[in-house]
């Protein structure tokens, strides 16, 4: 997971509330064997059927900060929803309320789920719609969002532990690897006859 302190990119106004994970990525994409390459599934129904959908329009299609309505990420717990947003290029999602599981999954993958007031979300939508291509800066250190050179600044909330982990670029594995010395020390105490799969030993045929 990459460390994240601030990110600046085109803001995408998604004027919808209750966007559930089925809408973020439909179930047919779950059969895959990869954890990457889900970008084509992102908002698939809308992207395929609605030419006016925000991601079908330039310059929004190149966006990396999603400004969504309330209750984003409800429904099924699929981690694929986060993978799809990340693979498309989103670094942060702003909303006035997130579903718990989605927020947890986002934190695991380093996608910033920043909670703003609904008033601030509305203001951001207005800015982004009036000036398409406005770059939004998400500052995790200060917990603030800056909207281009409009001078507008909006505070956001994110829990301390998640913020710390994302700023350090630590996923669960990264956190465990901080104790790598302990693991190595433990390994040194293991008897040599503990199971080893390599080199392979094959039984002789009876």
């Amino acid at each position: 997971m990459e460390a994240f302190t601030t990110h600046t990119g085109i803001g995408v106004p998604l004027r919808r509330s209750n966007v559930d994970t089925d809408q973020i990525i439909p179930a047919v994409y779950l059969k895959r064997v990869t954890k990457t390459g889900f970008d084509d599934g992102l908002f698939n129904a809308w992207r395929a059927n609605d030419p006016d959908f925000v991601l079908n329009r330039e310059p929004y299609s190149r966006g990396s900060v999603l400004v969504a309505g309330s209750d984003f990420g409800t429904g099924s717990s699929r981690e694929h929803a986060v993978w799809a947003l990340r693979d498309y290029g989103f670094k942060a999602v702003l909303s006035s309320r997130f579903a718990d599981i989605f927020r947890g999954n986002a934190g695991k993958q380093g996608l910033v789920a920043a909670q703003l007031t609904q008033d601030d979300i509305e203001q951001l939508w207005k800015i982004l719609e009036e000036n398409p291509g406005t770059e939004v800066t998400v500052d995790l250190v200060e917990r603030q969002v800056h909207a281009g050179d409009t001078g507008a600044v909006f505070p956001f909330e994110i829990d301390d532990y998640t913020r710390w982990r994302i700023m350090e670029g630590l996923d669960d594995i990264g956190l465990t690897l901080r104790h790598e010395e302990d693991i190595t020390a433990f390994e040194a105490t293991r008897p040599s006859w503990m199971p080893k799969t390599l080199p392979a030993r094959i039984a002789e045929d009876a």
């Binding site: 997971m1 059969k31 064997v33 990869t34 954890k35 990457t36 981690e79 695991k108 996923d171 669960d172 594995i173 465990t176 690897l177 104790h179 790598e180 302990d182 693991i183 433990f186 390994e187 293991r190 008897p191 040599s192 006859w193 503990m194 199971p195 080893k196 799969t197 390599l198 392979a200 030993r201 094959i202 039984a203 045929d205 009876a206």
Partner: protein, 470 residues
């Protein structure tokens, strides 16, 4: 301080103790991999540019999706083929040992680990598969994990976990002839319920457990998860050492003596305190079958289909109503009158050589009921070879059964081995969930000898119902 078996194995694997309610960091000795739950874990490694920490503590086999006939032809189902190809590519890229379809050591993960001697007493074993509890039969702490944890183990060879609670399940007395390990565990689950073991490691003990073979012990531990438990364990003893000795990866020479000396310490102290205790009298057990759609809905074979009114609490009553409707059963019908269409003999619960021998012994010299389809699927390629060396396959074929290649097969029907809608099966596997063995299929869980007697009579039966052969 006095400790239980599970606590001892846990203690011996703590890399770092969690403080202030944080989890412990637990060392994992062996991870088993298969094609269904590993792809995203490998992809995660690739994405982060990580390598497996201990490639020599990983073992992959192909089992869930593999066909059991025509294994030399390309796999017809595209999703299955992709998952298997992906596992092969990942194994090659990261240097993980793999036993592919057609290889002598291919088979169900939980059959292959013990058979290679990789599963040993006192180790920690994980796999992205809930029936990893099987390996607890050796006195190992073995449990199923999710895909992100598989990645965590690949990268760090550890897991962050809070200790499990412990439950002693004591089975005293002696099993009657025809009553097997499968009947013991079905009776345990019927007694404590499918959620009764939640949060616990179950330790099976008592005379009846001690007298079981390793195969029988694996059957018992395998189904711990059906009681909701994290793991099941049995303290290692001479039976265990005898089974492990001489296997390809078993310790040898002086190592063997040192290992056995350690393994002998792996038992719950006499004054150890369990968080819960359950007692079962083996003398009272009979062959057991399930009538419903969860493994806790079981009864002795001599009983009749229960009525929803027999259950006092609302949840069980509703569950029974739904189950009876799905299973198309009428309350009051003797279980022995239930006709079956298919008998499935196999899976990681009962797909080992001893299970096949028991089945063969019952069907030998007889013919299957004409209306019943019988599939015998060995748990591993090596079990298949051994069965053929012993001539068991001739018994099966003469009986009218299909003799298949190794894999999970109809246990979950991810390959073409499925029940058709409405078809009823007596199955030696571990889950009778709706649609588990094929959409609309109906499953009765049974032991290998009950499966055999059922295949002969065409209705759920035990060997004692059979007429003697001339």
């Amino acid at each position: 301080m006095a400790s239980t078996l599970a606590e001892k194995v846990w203690q011996d694997h703590v890399v770092r103790r969690g403080e202030n309610g944080e989890p412990d960091l637990l060392y994992i000795d062996l991870q088993l991999l298969h094609e269904v739950t590993s792809p995203q874990a490998f992809d995660g490694l690739r994405q982060e540019g990580r390598q497996p920490r201990r490639v020599d503590q990983q073992l992959a086999t192909e089992d869930h999706n593999t066909p059991t006939i025509d294994i030399d032809k390309p796999i017809a189902d595209l999703t299955s083929r992709t998952q298997i190809d992906t596992l092969r590519r990942n194994a090659e890229e990261f240097g993980v040992r793999i036993h592919s379809l057609g290889d002598k050591d291919q088979g169900i993960v939980h059959v292959v680990g013990p058979q290679l001697g990789l599963t040993m007493p006192g180790i920690t074993v994980v796999c992205g598969d809930s029936h990893t509890s099987t390996h607890g039969a050796f006195g190992a702490l073995a449990f199923g994990i999710g895909t992100s944890e598989v990645e965590h183990v690949l990268a760090t060879q550890t897991l962050s976990l809070k200790p499990f609670k412990t439950m002693a399940i004591t089975v005293d007395g002696t099993l009657k002839p025809g009553v097997t390990a499968k009947d013991v565990i079905l009776a345990v689950i019927a007694k404590i319920g499918t959620g009764g073991g939640a949060g616990y490691v179950l330790e099976y003990r008592g005379e009846a457990i001690r007298s079981l073979s390793m195969e029988g012990r694996m059957t018992v531990c395998n189904m711990s998860i059906e009681a909701g438990a994290r793991a099941g364990m049995i303290a290692p003893d001479e039976t265990t050492f005898e089974y492990v000795k001489g296997r390809p990866h078993a310790p040898k020479g002086a190592d063997w003596d040192e290992a056995v000396a350690y393994w002998r310490t792996l038992r719950s102290d006499d004054d150890a305190v369990f968080d819960a205790e359950v007692h079962i009298d083996a003398d009272e057990l009979e062959p057991f079958v399930t009538w419903g759609t969860n493994p806790g809905q079981g009864l002795p074979l001599s009983a009749s289909v229960p009525a929803p009114e027999d259950f006092t609490d609302d949840t069980s009553r509703t569950a029974a109503e739904n189950a009876l409707a799905y299973m198309d059963l009428v309350p009051g019908t003797p279980l022995k009158d239930i006709k079956v269409d298919t008998v499935f003999m196999g899976s990681c619960t009962n797909g080992r050589i001893e299970d096949l021998r028991a089945f063969a012994e019952t069907v030998k010299g007889r013919e299957k009921h004409p209306d019943v389809r019988v599939m015998v699927v060995p748990g591993s390629a090596r079990v298949r070879v051994q069965a053929e060396q012993e001539g068991l396959h001739e018994v099966f074929l003469a009986f009218g059964a299909e003799w298949r290649q190794a894999g999970c097969s109809m246990c979950l029907g991810m390959n073409p081995d499925q029940l058709k809608p409405g078809e009823r099966a007596a199955s030696t596997s571990n889950r009778n969930f709706e649609g588990r063995q094929g959409k609309g299929g109906r499953t009765h869980l049974v032991s290998p000898v009950v499966a055999a007697a059922t295949a002969i009579r065409g209705t759920l039966s035990s060997p004692s119902d059979l007429q003697p052969t001339a």
